[in-house]
Amino acid sequence: MGFMTASGVGKTFERDGKSVVAIADFNLTLEAGEFVSIVGPSGCGKSTFLHMVGGFEKGEGTIVVADQRVTSPGPDRGMLFQDYALFPWRSVIGNVAWALEAQGMGRAQRNAVAEKYLALVGLSQFRDAYPSELSGGMQQRVALARVLAFEPHMLLMDEPFGALDAQTRELMQEELTEIWQQNRRTVLFVTHDIDEALYLSDRIIVFTARPGRIKADMRIDLPRPRGADIRKSGRFTEYRNQIWDMLREEVLRAKAGS
C-alpha cells in the first residue's frame, strides 16, 4: 500500500475529430518520502499523468493519494508549473501567502508563514516586489515558496525549470534538493532533462512514446545529501548513458509515429 497508487489510468484526447491516446492502462506506486522523476519524449503523456494526479484532468482508472481517491485539485497535492503561474496583480508576499488566505487564515499569521518560506528560498528582500519585476529563476523560487507554504503531503512538478537558462537551472536543482532534504515530502517530478532527473531523484521512471507506458523503473543509488560534484561522478555518467539510450529509442519511435 503505497503513498500514491495509480491503477488502470488512461486518458484520451479528442483533437479535430481524431482520438489521441495519451496514456493507457497505466499503473504506478509511489512510497512516502520518495523523490520520483518521470522522463520521456515529448508528447508521451508524462505531463498528462501529472495533471491527472493533480486532479486537473479526468480520465479512466483510479488514483489514490494518502488513502484518498483523487477527484479534483486540492492542497494536499501542491503543483509547481513550468510557467510559474504567479498572480501578477499580487506582490511576492501576497502570492506566497495566497493559499493561506484562500483557506481563511488571518493576515498577520499568514504573512508570518509566508515570510518564513520566502526566507527559505532566499527572497526575503523582494517581499513587496511584483512578479513582473523578477527574473524567471526568482519567479520560480516564489512559486516554490508558495507551494511549500501550505505544506502539501505531495509535490507535483511539471518541468519547473524548463523555461530557465542552463546555469540557473543547475542552481535551482541544488536549491530544490537542499530544501527537499529538510523534510522529504513525496515528489513526482516531470522532466525531459536526464541530468536533472538523476541529480534530484531516488527513482526514475522512463516513459515510452505515446501512449505512455513504463519502459523502465530505476532506483538511483547515488548518495545523499547530493552536492554539485555528484554530476561528475562515474556512477552518474553510467546512469545517464543507460537512460539516454532508452530515451533515445523512444524519441525516435515518437518521431517515426508522428
Binding site: G54, P73, M79, F87, P88, W89, A102, R146
Partner: protein, 262 residues
C-alpha cells in the same frame, strides 16, 4: 524606430499639437475673409463667447446638467455591464440568457430606442439616463465577459490547487485577472456615454450642453455652438483622463504592458 529629431520627448509632445494648431489657425484665417461661410467662426471669437459664459456662470449650469446625466447613466450601465459580464463567465444559465441577447443587440444603435424611452419615461432626466445606461451596458458587458473567459487556465488551476472555493476563485482570481479588459470596456463605455448624452439632449432637454448646442445652431449663434461643443469635449477628455489615472493606479507595474499606459 530611429527617426532623427523625434527621439526627443519634448519634440514628440509638441507633435501632438500640430494638427489642432493647423485647424485653429485655418479657422481664424478663414473667418477673417469676407467669403467665409457663416459656420466658420474665429477661434478668438469662440474663446471670447466661452469666457462670457464662464463669467455669467451659464456654462456651468448646462455642464452640470449634462454631467449628472452622463455619469448617472454611465455608472448604472457600467456597474450592470461589468457585474453581469463577469458573472456570466462562471454561470452557464446566466450566460445562456445574456450572451445571445447582447450579441444580437450590440450592433443596433441604442439611440434608436430613444423615442420609446421618452414615451415611457418622459422628456426629463430619467429617459436620458436610461438610454445612456442601456448604451454603456454593451461594451462594458462584452469586455468584462471576454476578459473573464480569457483568464489563463493556469491561474485557475493554481487557485484550485491551493484549496480555493469557487467563490474565492471568482473574486480572487477571475476578477483581478480580467481587470485590464474590464478597463478597456469602461473606457469605451465612457466615450459612448457622452455621445449618447449629446443625442439624447438634442431631442429635447431643459439645460444641458447638447441642448445649448442645438439652440445655438437654430439661432445661428455658431460661436456659442462651438463653445458648447468645446465644453462637452473638454468634459469628455477630463473624464477619460481620470479613468486612465485610476487604471494606472490599480494596474501599473503589474500586468505586462500596463506601465506604459496613459
Amino acid at each position: 524606430m530611429n527617426m532623427p529629431g523625434l527621439d526627443n520627448r519634448h519634440v514628440r509632445m509638441a507633435a501632438a499639437w500640430v494638427l489642432p494648431l493647423i485647424v485653429v489657425v485655418t479657422m481664424q484665417v478663414m473667418a477673417g475673409s469676407d467669403s467665409a461661410p457663416r459656420y466658420v467662426v474665429a477661434p478668438t471669437q469662440i474663446a471670447s463667447t466661452l469666457w462670457t459664459l464662464v463669467q455669467s456662470g451659464e456654462i456651468f449650469v448646462h455642464a452640470w446638467a449634462s454631467l449628472v446625466r452622463a455619469y448617472s447613466g454611465y455608472i448604472i450601465g457600467a456597474a450592470a455591464g461589468v457585474g453581469i459580464g463577469l458573472l456570466c463567465s462562471v454561470s452557464r444559465p446566466l450566460s445562456a440568457f445574456f450572451d445571445p441577447l447582447v450579441s444580437i443587440a450590440y450592433p443596433v444603435p441604442k439611440v434608436a430606442l430613444l423615442p420609446v424611452l421618452i414615451t415611457w419615461l418622459g422628456f426629463g432626466d430619467a429617459s436620458k439616463i436610461a438610454i445612456i445606461a442601456l448604451a454603456v451596458f454593451f461594451p462594458t458587458f462584452i469586455n468584462a465577459l471576454y476578459g473573464a473567459r480569457g483568464v489563463s487556465q493556469r491561474w485557475i488551476w493554481s487557485a484550485r490547487n491551493m484549496g480555493a472555493s469557487r467563490a474565492r476563485v471568482f473574486f480572487m482570481v477571475i476578477v483581478p485577472a480580467a481587470a485590464p479588459h474590464v478597463f478597456n470596456g469602461l473606457r469605451s463605455g465612457l466615450a459612448l456615454s457622452f455621445i449618447v448624452l449629446f443625442a439624447a439632449e438634442m431631442v429635447g432637454a431643459r439645460k444641458g450642453l447638447g441642448d445649448l448646442i442645438l439652440q445655438a445652431e437654430e439661432g445661428l449663434r455658431f460661436d456659442l455652438m462651438y463653445a458648447a461643443i468645446f465644453s462637452i469635449g473638454l468634459i469628455g477628455f477630463a473624464s477619460d483622463r481620470l479613468l486612465l489615472a485610476l487604471r494606472r493606479r490599480l494596474l501599473a507595474g503589474k500586468f505586462p504592458g500596463e506601465a506604459r499606459h496613459g
